[in-house]
Symmetry: C2
Subunit: 308 residues, 2 copies
């Protein structure tokens, strides 16, 4: 597989597809445009959960058992925070803190989020571009039956229990795509949409002015991997959220959601297809590196087919 590829991704599930693509493709041929709508300040430190999950996953540092954070992590910081009466609804591992502290120092000194992210990726020997969707502040908010909630309060503190009425992206209207984002989409041999939550993880990226238009205009095909498996979400609140938003939990809904730019959808085995877009099929469950490569290969081969 050669060429230049771009993938739009959120957190854990998306990182698995990016990992599969990174394993298959030659060095420096992949750009990952990462959701930054989950980013927030906690203890005054700038946390970028999806960027960090991707960096940990690609560098082999992710915690397989927890499903988030770092392998071999220690928790002395949180223990001391609790002893001082500090907030403990959001767990920050000791090693994980290094990224937030060093990012905070860099941002406060005027470095951009994309520059810091590239520096971290290079320090860990990663041969791909990891780019936040924007260097401007965009914050995902969930309008719920308990009122408006910042994303992490909904997702981590409230464990996705409140019923979602709508999702919005504060600051998106005036945000600019990070340097290289539009070019990486327009010039890609194919753009892939990772099986991240379309409403919570991919929509924030699409909300940055210029990105949706670039996807509609890009030379190569745009292919999404459906987050649904056997008609259910593999992980996280996707199915619950779709239901609360009054949407059918189906690949038809997923395909329709991306209709203005999508050329193909990868669906799980014999799950029902989508009326709004062509589909290709593979086992989309990604339990291990072999699975990740299989799904990545299916997406790249489907892209090649659609390019003809």
């Amino acid at each position: 597989m050669s060429g230049r590829y771009t993938v739009l991704t959120g957190g854990v599930g998306g990182a698995k597809l990016v990992d599969g693509l990174y394993r298959l493709l030659p060095a420096n041929s992949l750009t990952a445009i990462v959701n930054a709508g989950d980013d927030f300040r906690h203890f005054g430190l700038p946390i970028s959960p999806d960027i960090d999950t991707l960096l940990y996953t690609l560098s082999g540092k992710s915690n397989q058992k927890l499903g988030w954070g770092r392998e071999g992590e220690t928790w002395s910081f949180m223990e001391a925070v609790r002893s001082l009466g500090g907030e403990d609804w959001f767990n920050l591992g000791d090693g994980d803190l290094a990224l937030h502290v060093m990012r905070g120092m860099a941002l406060d000194a005027g470095e951009t989020l994309s520059a810091v992210t590239a520096r971290f990726a290079a320090a860990w020997g990663l041969a791909l571009n990891v780019v936040p969707m924007t260097n401007d502040a965009v914050a995902t908010w969930v309008e719920s039956d308990e009122g408006p909630l910042p994303f992490q309060r909904y997702f981590v503190e409230r464990q996705c229990q409140p019923k979602v009425k709508s999702v919005s992206f504060d600051g998106a209207a005036t945000a600019r795509p990070a340097p290289g984002v539009i070019e990486a989409i327009r010039s890609a041999d194919a753009v892939l949409i990772a099986p991240s939550n379309p409403w919570l993880s991919v929509d924030p990226i699409l909300a940055v002015p210029g990105i949706r238009a670039a996807l509609a205009d890009c030379a190569g095909p745009v292919i999404a991997v459906s987050p649904l498996v056997d008609g259910k979400a593999v992980k996280g609140p996707t199915a619950k959220l779709m239901s609360e938003l009054g949407l059918a939990i189906s690949n038809d809904t997923i395909g329709g959601h991306y209709a203005d730019f999508l050329n193909g959808l990868i669906v799980h085995n014999d799950d029902p297809a989508s009326d709004s877009v062509a589909v290709a099929r593979t086992d989309t469950m990604m339990r291990n590196p072999t699975d990740r490569e299989r799904v990545a290969r299916a997406a790249l081969e489907y892209a090649k087919k659609l390019r003809k």
Copy 2:
């Protein structure tokens, strides 16, 4: 022992005397005025080494083996910092980070250093006043044969190896004593000067306008515990520094240094006395809690005698 006592202290050695006093005295009868000249920002976080050493020591959290930091500390943060190419000359333990991160958040929100410090002490159940000398920025600088060095660069990074020509306290001239400092000195039944380095750890406190005058004016006696044992410094650069400053390494020099306000000096066993001030004697080595109580008791008894 009843009454109200105030102690001026620096880091590790001073914290041992404060611990001894805290063990002997009734709850809430002790005020510790702590050197903040060693404070600095590192990774953007405000580090207050002497305050934290005192909090760790009094709450039974200090690392006996290292002689600094927390018992049972982990080091995942520093490991991750190194993997990202960050500075590693100053070690920050994972649990220790909680104080710096929470202090940074509080200071950035406009809380004073003394308010944060009181909050931390209360959270750990400490029944004494722990007060920084000032809430204003005062930074100890060492003028050395390698040029001017901020205190931590001299002390930690260069391990006190440069030869010291003079010591200065940047910002001291316009600093105000923290709330309660002057009152705690004036109203004390006795003021004790801990066996901390007079030039590096006690002088920054004395450099804050108003503190030296309060010591000279205070009702009770002012008693110092000499940092010299058998004519040598127990720990740290005291003797080396005295020699570089052209001073005799003797209790006479120590007594003379505090001459304008000192009423008595506690010296080690049969070490030579001081020409400039009356002395009392005890074994001043503090290896364990019993030692700490013995030295504290000697200081308090000497205070009682001098009050008569």
